[in-house]
């Protein structure tokens, strides 16, 4: 499997480590009223789609960047690769 890194170009999947669902970027607000419920969901509940799935991959044998990879769980086709840093900023993180 080849992951087309946004900065470095096509790289073998062996250079990467897989973490899981990219929903982990959206860490809940610990001050929220229902923070306990939100953290329970954040920590334990995952969607398990048969199809397009956004997931976090770490380029350990490369530039040590985190990526958000959109992969089809049925075919392993990769349809999108973004830097997790950019994606987190887009979702409202300030740095």
């Amino acid at each position: 499997m080849i992951i087309n890194h946004p900065l470095l170009g096509p790289r073998d999947a062996a250079e990467f480590v897989y973490l899981g669902d990219a929903a982990l970027i959206d860490r809940p607000d610990p001050e929220a009223e229902n923070a306990d419920e939100q953290f329970y969901e954040y920590g334990y509940l995952r969607d398990n789609p048969a199809g397009a799935h956004q997931e976090l991959w770490y380029h350990e044998q490369g530039d040590r960047s985190w990526l958000v990879v959109t992969r089809d769980t049925l075919t392993h086709e990769i349809t999108g690769v973004k830097l997790a840093r950019d994606e987190a900023k887009k979702r409202g993180r300030n740095k």
């Binding site: 900065l7 470095l8 073998d12 250079e15 044998q61 490369g62 530039d63 040590r64 840093r85």
Partner: protein, 191 residues
């Protein structure tokens, strides 16, 4: 008590070997300083590099030689750069030397004893790497000065194209002999 004198030896004992169309040798006494770019300091980092080395901070995946050609700066990621140069020139220590040149913009760390460096050169160099290097190192994809961090035979490696038919390979000094063995095996397998 006996009077001992200790002499430091390169990791691979100045290894040098010629094969048909490939030459493999250890480059020793390389000073290797990591220069990480702090968050939101990219503009300042670019300025510091131009002032210190007389060249622009390379794009990710490229390296550049300083104006007087004795230092090479590698850009391996958004915020990850390295400076390499012959160690013997700076007795005061590699990291203070680079920190002096760059000012206080970068986070600098001396990694000189962490890396072993091999140079593989000759018209057969690319062929010798084709089974061990997972990257496309054809000249149109990986020209002179290009650099990348990858893994070869499971060992983390930095590769730099430093000439038409010449590459520098850097890997952890703690597994220097395994790395040399892997490269030699690759040369033999593709001869």
């Amino acid at each position: 008590m006996a009077d001992f004198t200790l002499t430091a030896e390169p990791f691979l004992g100045r290894f040098e070997q010629h094969y048909d169309d490939v030459k493999l040798r250890e480059i020793y006494d390389v000073a290797f300083v990591s220069a990480a770019i702090p968050l939101r300091k990219l503009t300042a980092a670019k300025k510091a590099v131009s002032a210190a080395f007389g060249v622009d901070l390379p794009e990710v995946g490229m390296s550049a030689l300083s104006q007087d050609s004795d230092m090479r700066i590698l850009r391996l990621g958004n915020d990850q750069a390295f400076v390499i140069f012959p160690r013997a020139q700076h007795d005061t220590g590699a990291e203070p030397h680079v920190a002096d040149l760059l000012g206080d913009v970068f986070y600098t760390t001396d990694q000189s004893d962490v890396w072993v460096t091999l140079e593989i050169a000759g018209t057969g160099a690319r062929r010798a790497l084709e089974r061990i290097c997972p990257l496309n190192i054809a000249p149109d994809a990986f020209g002179i000065g290009a650099t990348a961090r990858t893994s070869m035979e499971h060992l983390g490696t930095i590769i730099i194209r430093n000439g038409e038919d010449s590459f520098l390979l850097m890997s952890a000094s703690s597994s220097a002999h395994s790395f040399l063995h892997a490269i030699e095996t690759s040369i033999a397998n593709t001869a």
